[in-house]
């Protein structure tokens, strides 16, 4: 029963909301309550644009428990245009030759097996940019 987990993460999962530090201007995803750069604690929610480029990627064939219905699936690390890196599943990659540096954008998709808990968990994934 991980419903509370996904509920409390909803802003990050649906809106790619991280944090911005009022003291040093640093922007972070996932959200933090203490700034890892200047170590101050004055952070406010910050919503990222969802646009970025592919830093690296791979394909998961041997899915962990809870992801079997999606396998095989591509995952990547995305360098957001605001700076941070995000690790996520990739979407809409069929027939696409993935490459480091390719532009990608955030979409909302099913994150894991629905059968596991009896409800669908939605969240961010990234797909190759449709209209550059």
């Amino acid at each position: 029963m991980e419903l509370p987990r996904y509920h409390r993460m909803r802003r990050a999962l649906y809106h790619l909301e991280g944090s911005a530090c009022a003291a040093c201007g640093g922007r972070f995803f996932p959200p933090r309550s203490v700034c890892p750069s200047c170590r101050k604690g004055d952070l406010a929610p910050y919503r990222f644009s969802g646009r970025g480029t592919l830093y690296s990627y791979t394909r998961v064939g041997q899915a962990p428990r809870g992801f079997a219905s999606l396998a095989p699936y591509d995952v990547g690390m995305v360098r957001l245009e605001e700076g941070p890196l995000v690790t996520a599943q990739l979407s809409d990659t069929e027939g696409v030759d993935l490459a480091i540096g390719m532009p990608v954008e955030m979409v909302t998709r099913t994150l894991r097996d629905a059968a596991e808990h009896g409800y669908i968990v939605y969240g961010y994934k990234f797909r190759p940019l449709l209209r550059p």
Partner: protein, 383 residues
């Protein structure tokens, strides 16, 4: 702080021990270490383990082991630092003896992985990553390392075959270790023909799932000198941390926790990389060996593959690594691996490594890494 020495070691063979439980394995290693030392007294036991709750359905593990080994009512605590848990157990034992809190302390690393099917083990291993922002998105531990490897190959224009020497070296050394799991040599051609797990990582880039336990008995160095075994001194014991989420680092290809723990260890031991006779690297994947050698000062950024290609990591080289097979060849029972690395370093320094002996080894470094470089524990041992 008192100087600390290792006076006894013990280990089970690394294998798929279908017939043996987590407590059976831990007790065998503990008894072997006590017998090796010829010492009855144990003041405390620290059990390094990552996944007993997930894989064996057992927490309260240290008490279970203390009881099963006939050590009640001694202090017993489990120490967890993901795949670095075995190294963490020795770190805890070292602190306890150095501080004067205890005199004779057992450090045990144990893991029992083969009771579950692969999807369960894959999910369990992913608990070393960020549960909300990595594992919760179906990012397996292999996938994180695969993305690192692809990025490394991109930045340094490396080919997959350039990583082969690491796996070839580990298997060559494992073939000379009677307790290793994969006691067969492989060729670079075998490496390239191996099936892909998560592109570019293939089976022979990766350490396998298995069971095992290893133990070390530590005591003040003054006692160690009076022991029945050649005394081995702990010249450095350090731990450093980095973000759990791989993506949250300035540069994921710089393993800062590894660099920090090595730098602190060199300072403690008053040594430099050139003084190290052998290095037990945490070769869970070939890319981990590469990033660790670079972070620890044995190779400049982007040049660890060259170090391997030139044969310098072999037993006869100037910086032998994974001398009894490493995680790849000996096997990687995750929470036990750090303890195996240390037991093997002691064997080398005592001159008891048999066919795998590094000639004239007097200084050995063992490094255990948890998560994707998020925690690193480094020990330097000397004779």
């Amino acid at each position: 702080m008192r100087d600390v020495g290792i006076i006894g070691i013990g280990q089970t063979p690394v294998a798929e021990h279908w017939g043996r439980s987590i407590r059976d394995l831990a007790v065998e290693a503990v008894q072997a270490a006590r017998q090796d030392a010829g010492v009855e007294r144990v003041d405390a036991i620290y059990v390094g383990n990552m996944l007993s709750g997930e894989l064996a359905g057992q927490e309260n593990l240290a008490t279970l082991v203390a009881d099963a080994a006939g050590l009640l009512p001694v202090e017993a605590l489990k120490v967890e630092a993901a795949c670095a848990s075995g190294g963490a157990a020795l770190r805890a034992a070292c602190l306890a003896v150095a501080s004067g809190a205890h005199d004779y302390v057992l450090a045990v690393g144990v893991e029992k992985m083969t009771d579950l099917l692969t999807d369960g083990v894959t999910a369990a291993l992913a608990t070393a990553a960020d549960a909300d922002y990595e594992a919760g998105h179906g990012i397996s531990f292999v996938a994180l390392n695969a993305m690192l490897m692809r990025r490394y190959m991109h930045e340094h224009k490396a080919r997959h075959e350039d990583f082969a020497p690491f796996s070839v070296n580990s298997h060559r050394n494992a073939a000379r270790n009677p307790r290793a799991m994969y006691r067969h040599e492989i060729t670079p051609e075998d490496f390239m023909a191996s099936p892909i797990v998560s592109d570019p990582i293939n089976i022979l880039d990766s350490a396998g799932i298995c069971d095992g336990a290893a133990a070390l008995l530590v005591a003040p160095a003054s006692e160690a000198r009076r022991g029945r075994r050649p005394p081995v001194r702990i010249a450095a014991s350090t731990c450093a941390t980095d973000t759990v989420g791989l993506a949250e680092r300035k540069d994921p290809l710089v393993w800062q926790s590894v660099a920090d723990s090595a730098r602190l260890a060199y300072a403690q031991a008053k040594m430099a990389p050139k003084d190290i006779d052998l290095f037990e690297v945490h070769d869970a994947f070939t890319i981990v060996s590469v990033l660790s050698l670079e972070a620890c000062g044995f190779a400049d950024r982007g040049s660890a593959l060259k170090l391997a290609a030139e044969g310098r990591i072999a037993r006869e080289g100037d910086i032998p690594i994974c001398t009894l097979g490493g995680l790849k060849g000996r096997g990687h029972p995750v929470g036990a691996s750090g303890a195996y690395q240390l037991v093997e370093t002691v064997l080398q320094l005592r001159g008891e490594a048999g066919e795998a002996q590094v000639k004239g080894a007097r200084v050995g470094m063992a490094q255990s890494v948890g998560g994707s470089g998020s925690v690193a524990i480094t020990h330097i041992l000397t004779v």
